[in-house]
Symmetry: C2
């Protein structure tokens, strides 16, 4: 069952009002990662709560307590839970979104004021949070507004969870989901998250997988303090020499992971899976355009796509404690911490990969014959997630996409991580769909973040249509 | 000819006055590396000039022009040139010292106010510049004061060059030396610099060699901007992977330099030279105490000493452009610059070593098969210096040391660089002696810099005695 034509027409007719509402949301600089902006994140929670209430949603703002950031104890922004509809004959869909944003300031290189939504002639709506994730949140609210104003019943029951700490580790959310599993989230049949991006600028996607992550710090120490390389060069074991030797044994320039067993965990793709990648609307030129350089690891599109979607990757990020400034300081740093991370794919988990990494580093360090000390620290981890894209939840989204975009969406897996996806999938035991609104070049965490007006308007229609397709689906329930 | 007993007695009797004068000098925070402190460096030049005039020295303050630091054009502190005595029958000794200091602030971990000279119970005179190099400069002035007050003629003619930019590359000094080669510095027979340290805390040293330096930056670039490791991991050539691979091929954990040809340039030590090192008052425990960790490359004292004094060394300092902060940022840095330096010893020169390094890095990079770009940059260089320690200038200093300390000094080479030494040696064509006043644990560039009272007083006697020994020497002239 497609969405009512009146809804789609109304969305088209409401574009100015939608953009004005998005401007209002963008104007609240709800940066969750900067203590100075915390009051704005709290205010943003109230704003979102009021918007939901105005379109007929029953809400509850949940106090998530406090946390410590940069030495300050700060109140966490309240999560906004919502419910509308309670018809046992209808499916219940859980929607997730977030109303906090990444830091942004003109001095970072923004061409416009980041917290003033600016509509460019080419239709780009430029502003921090436009695409990540205020646009999609307001897309859902737009759909609800029409139903509320026209007193049209929704095709499904909705449960809503909008949070304000997504850009900072979703602090407090895991506990909330666990706590409300049989409370606010009871009876949920499937879930939809609109918080990622198309693979390119042309073709809508449904995303069914995300990589996990283990993030390590290799600490090497020895001297009691930083030493002068003139005085101590070639007299002592230098921590940097040992660390660089270890970091150089983790990954090849071609991207192969040298930690024994890690790459081996992932089986090869069969013909059916290879065909999936072959079909995607994607060229090596797309990755090179996005990277800003002709540096793809392969000329073969399927290989490049699999490197991003179905293989683990190891990146070296940098070194804490070494000399990082400009100029020529002749220091032997006393204690250095090399940072690297591995993106994980099923069946890898942090629990299965971490011991391989640790024991490999320890055995390689032993080979160096150094008198320095090694400590391997796991800073951060998250499991990978892959959903069943043959589920009716995906079928509904696929139908909706065909109606709105007149295209079959690409089925993709993402290279990055959205840990909350796994939390919901595992805790509630439901199929989760990622249904993005924005394009691959939106620059979510970058300067000049934008959401194209057509993606905002068509994307809002898509979210509405998706609910109708779920409502009509014969699967489940 | 030993120094007059009256001079030595007077120096002992003047210790309170000497310490008071050192306190006055330390109280002027003449930090040359911080634009905000430049007025104090200028003031320090005037203070030193006045001190020299007060003890009968004819002086000239030389304007060295301006330079740019942190985007500001700043006046360079005037060098203070001095002359006293013009007897053609006497030798002419050139003295060098500097009156600027390293940065210091309580918040760096100083136990006392860095610019308030604090005399501790154990005799340590704690304060920034106490040992490096205001103490030695005031040592010379103390010697001159007695001759001035007692109207005793000096045993030699003196030419003095005190500068205020030593801690910041001795800006303007090379040009000054070149300009005054046949002017103010005409007729100089030998030179003495008191601006380094004993090897340990027990035995005085004469230093006859310094290592040179080539400081490189390996730039690897590829992406147009920093990338997200989730999105781009295993799809593109990552500059950090390439850079770490290159940095890992420069030096072994045991200190051997892997750049072909570099270690080979230096011949092995013969039995006579080995005996020199064997004789030095130095234990592996000394280097480990100074380094603050049991991390010496060898248990053999001669090997450790040769590593510091007669072998080149390669240290990895850090990476510019990579992630260096705390936390777990999942970035693929777009452009990274790996910093390392090689300390050089004769017959190595920057001109002979640099092409070896560059072509090695280029050929190793080619082996990586990366699509990123490599650029090898030489940031900074200086030739090594070794003087003839059989010269009468050294013999005089050796005699003076025996008289004052009742010990034969250790003959050492330093691992570090004092580029101005080579400038004077090459431009004026004279034998240069490094005759340190302070101990190996003075912490010249560190927190809680100190000069032991006994080193200040005995060291002042040593400088005076040295002049008498030079005056009586039958060598040269």
């Amino acid at each position: 069952m497609p969405a009512p034509a009146e809804l789609l027409k109304w969305i088209d007719a409401s574009s100015d009002a939608f953009i004005a509402r998005l401007a209002e949301a963008v104007a609240i600089p709800s940066i969750s990662g900067d203590p100075a902006f915390r009051p704005h994140v709290l205010r943003m929670s109230d704003w979102v709560n009021a918007q939901l209430q105005a379109v007929g949603v029953t809400t509850k703002q949940v106090d998530l307590g406090t946390h410590v950031m940069d030495g300050q104890t700060l109140p966490l922004p309240k999560a906004v839970l919502g419910r509308i509809g309670n018809d046992p004959a209808k499916k219940t869909v859980l929607l997730y979104g977030h109303f906090d944003v990444q830091p942004a300031s003109k001095s970072d290189g923004w061409e416009t004021e980041p917290f003033v939504l600016t509509e460019e002639k080419d239709g780009r709506l430029v502003g921090r949070g436009s695409s990540d994730d205020k646009g999609p949140v307001l897309g859902w609210i737009g759909v609800l507004q029409w139903h509320h104003e026209t007193q049209t019943p929704l095709p499904v029951n909705l449960v809503i969870c909008f949070e304000g700490m997504e850009e900072n580790g979703s602090e407090g959310l895991d506990e909330l989901v666990e706590r409300e599993k049989d409370g606010w989230f009871k009876g949920v049949d499937c879930m939809c998250i609109s918080d990622n991006y198309w693979l390119n600028t042309r073709t809508p996607v449904l995303t069914y997988g995300l990589r996990g992550l283990v993030y390590f710090k290799i600490n090497v120490s020895g001297p009691g303090r930083d030493l002068h390389s003139g005085v101590f060069g070639r007299t002592v074991h230098e921590p940097m020499t040992d660390l660089i030797a270890l970091m150089g044994r983790l990954v090849t320039p071609a991207g192969d992971i040298l930690v024994p067993g890690v790459d081996d965990m992932v089986g090869a793709a069969d013909a059916e899976e290879l065909a999936l990648y072959e079909k995607l609307d994607y060229a090596v030129a797309d990755v090179e355009a996005a990277a800003g350089g002709k540096i793809a690891l392969s000329e073969d599109k399927v290989e490049v796509l699999m490197g991003r979607m179905r293989l683990p990757s190891l990146s070296l990020h940098g070194i804490e404690g070494a000399f990082a400034g400009p100029g020529a300081k002749t220091v032997i740093p006393a204690k250095v911490g090399g940072k690297f991370s591995i993106r994980l794919v099923p069946p890898q988990t942090p629990a299965s990969v971490t011991p391989l990494v640790t024991s490999y580093l320890e055995s390689e360090f032993a080979k160096l014959g150094s008198k320095n000390k090694l400590e391997v620290e796991l800073l951060h981890d998250g499991k990978p997630w892959v959903a069943d894209w043959r589920h009716w939840n995906y079928t509904a989204a696929m139908e909706a996409t065909k109606q709105i975009y007149n295209k079959t969406p690409d089925l993709t897996r993402e290279g990055g991580s959205i840990p909350v996806t796994l939390t919901f999938a595992e805790t509630l035991g439901v199929n989760v769909l990622l249904l993005p609104m924005g394009r691959g070049d939106d620059g979510a965490h970058s300067t000049n973040e934008k959401l194209d007006k057509s993606n905002f308007i068509q994307g809002t229609k898509l979210l509405g249509s998706y609910l109708y397709e779920v409502g009509a689906s014969k699967g489940g329930k």
